[in-house]
Amino acid sequence: MILLQKKFILLISAVLIMLLLSGIALGAEVDEVTLVQGDAYQINNYLIDARLITASGQTASFDVYEREEKIKSSMISVNESFTFDFEDGGEVEVELVKVDSSSGLLDRATIAISISGYSLRDLHTTKKIPYGDDPDFVGVPELEITKEVGAETVNVGESVRITVKAKNVGDDEALDVRFSDSPKRSFALGDTILDDKGPMFIGTGESKTIMIYELKPTEPGTFTLTPTEATFYNKANKRFEAESNTPTITVEGSLQEADVTISHSAESRNVERNSRINMVLNLKNEGNTAAQGLRVDIELPDDIEFVGGDDEVEVIGGNPRIYIESFGQQQEKEITYSVRPKVTGTYSIGAKLFYKYDDGISTSDASKEATVDNINVVEAKYDFLLELPVYVYIVPLLIFGAVGAWIIHRQKQYKF
């Protein structure tokens, strides 16, 4: 009993699946329309043209056109049908439902149109074209995108102009056209002269310049530019894509660089406290371009005070600093300054170099450091005087003060 029930359920399911499949295969009803001789029915870019309709014979003949090209002719009786191939593998069936007449008028044929192998949603045009009216066919726009380079061989840092153009070589207007241009590796974007990525309209046969910009190669080598891509639609809102060619650019040479070397030295590394140490800084630009905004920060320990130096040395916020606006290729400079250690010990005096330079592509920063280590500061010959008790100085000062006051007092007493 249970086995019978299972078989029944399987049978029912199979029937339902068959019915579903047969429904697709049978086709979906598109329309039912009554035509007189000379009328036509447009389904996308196909026309079903009613030719001869005879009520007496209960027959009608039809021509089928794909655009201007007739692809089929057929005469059928009521309840008969014919089919023709539709786009994208679809098939359209036309059934003559009835033929009738009315006095004084042309005989009329009513046809039922169904389609199989094609989704109804994709149908953009289903309408009757009365005799004398023109059908409105939908075409296929096609964009030809070209990316041109100003020069195929350039040097590093040298600008090369890129021009992107688009031309509609299809048979219909391109609507909602949008372009995209991927970033370029090994290139820096320079000036942008034109950048019109849409959305835009490009008519049939119309050509437009989309982008004009300049690229600066940042390294040598041979590079293939990425394509410019576009998406667009026709009037039937069908989406299309296109992409440009990918030109190749050969880059030669190398980037510019300012290579400023710094050396830092002390006249003597063994000094007495409170004596002066003369320090020397040597700068040289061994690069192939000028350094800009060159700055050297002299880092003095707390117990070493700045005394003075060449004109280039200025004190900002208590710290000595050297600033040179521009330091050309192969330029050399020796700068001296003096410091005075106040406390005994071993010290290091650092000098941090900062500068910028234009490498041909952009402004680059550079920094270097030079430190004089092991400056040994010892007690001076008379430093022991500073270590004597305060009264050693206070008492004589008081005595001198008292003597001075006494002399002044006496002087005033006797001054006439």
Binding site: W406, I407, R410, K412, Q413, Y414, K415, F416
Partner: protein, 369 residues
């Protein structure tokens, strides 16, 4: 302790007063006032009075508050008549300064008899002091070099007389003419005389207020100064030479080389006071008695005082009052000659009014070019 007032009038009086102040520091250094203290035994007040401000400025050892400038251009130009008028116009200012110093036991007025300010101020000042106070006032009067000029000689003659008549309790004479025997240039001679007088004054002040083995005091001094003709002088010797005995020192103090005024002690002196200072071992009492007796047998009474100072050589100061003085007579004789000479000159100048006749010849004329 005695309260002693010393007033120096005019340039000479100022300088001697400054020398007294300098000597009182006990050092010859010009910086002594900065590191030393004045060693007066008594309470000594010094006042310098002058019409010439430059003379006051030259004083180095007298305090500014002790210098009184009487404004009258830069002095009275040796004209005693002007000087007397200036004093009368300003005497209250001077006396007020004296009054401010308190009470005194004795006063000394030091002045030159020959100059302008000192010779004219001093008689009047002594007179004022005597009228207002009851302490004795002694005048120390410096007589000029005889060759200093007729004006100075006549000033000295009249001034000395007026001082004597002013009521002073005695005049101690010092004679530049006599003291110039010290030699040297004028400046060093003046400086030497001033220092010499200053040292004698200090010795006298010291002895009047010291503990003595044999006593002399202010009373004895008054008695000595009241003797004779109201004139006195001072003799001094000692302090520098250990080989000189006290006997020799007394003899030298009484000799012309030790006196401030030329006189024959044994002939002209009336009373005397001998003060001997030094270490006990140098003071032979027999020698001292012998010399004192020798003097007293000639002139009468002699007061003597001995001050013991350990380690010091014998020093002797003698104050002598004089019955008569031949030297002063000679000076007044010279002064008369000087007065006559000035009169003759004046009459000659008046007779030279003939010059007016000469000028009158061109009266009514104008120069023609």
């Amino acid at each position: 302790m005695l309260n002693i007032l010393m007033i120096g009038n005019g340039q000479c009086g100022n300088r001697i007063l400054d020398a007294v102040n300098r000597e009182s520091f006990g050092s010859k250094s010009k910086f002594a006032k900065f590191y030393s203290k004045q060693k007066f035994k008594s309470n000594v007040e010094t006042i310098a009075v002058n019409t010439a401000i430059n003379d006051l400025k030259e004083m180095k050892f007298t305090k500014a508050k002790d210098r009184i400038h009487i404004p009258h251009l830069h002095g009275v130009g040796a004209n005693r008549n002007i000087g007397k008028k200036v004093f009368e116009d300003n005497k209250e200012q001077i006396m007020r300064k004296v009054e401010e110093r308190g009470r005194f036991d004795v006063a000394f007025v030091i002045t030159s008899a020959s100059g302008g300010t000192g010779s004219s101020f001093s008689p009047l000042l002594v007179k004022e002091l005597k009228e207002r106070y009851d302490f004795p006032v002694y005048s120390i009067v410096i007589l000029p070099f005889r060759e200093e000029g007729t004006l100075y000689l006549q000033n000295a003659a009249f001034s000395l007389r007026e001082i004597r008549e002013s009521g002073t309790d005695g005049i101690i004479l010092a004679d530049n003419q006599f003291l110039k025997q010290m030699g040297g240039d004028v400046q060093s001679a003046y400086d030497g005389i001033n220092s010499m007088i200053a040292r004698r004054i200090l010795f006298l002040l010291d002895s009047l207020d010291s503990e003595m083995m044999m006593v002399t005091d202010l009373g004895d001094f008054k008695t000595v100064m009241s003797g004779g003709a109201g004139l006195a002088t001072v003799g001094f010797y000692g302090g520098d030479d250990q080989d000189v005995s006290v006997k020799t020192s007394i003899q030298k103090a009484l000799s012309p080389a030790g006196l401030l005024f030329s006189t024959d002690v044994y002939e002209e002196a009336s009373r005397a006071m001998i003060i001997i200072k030094g270490d006990r071992k140098h003071l032979n009492i027999d020698d001292i008695s012998h010399e004192v007796e020798k003097l007293s047998s000639a002139i009468g009474h002699v007061f003597k005082g001995i001050i013991i100072r350990e380690g010091e050589y014998p020093q002797v100061l003698v104050v002598l009052t004089l019955e008569s003085t031949s030297e002063l007579e000679r000076m007044y004789s010279a002064a008369v000659d000087a007065i006559n000479m000035e009169r003759e000159k004046k009459s000659r100048v008046e007779s030279q009014k003939d010059m007016d006749k000469a000028f009158s010849q061109i009266e009514g004329y104008e120069p023609s070019y």
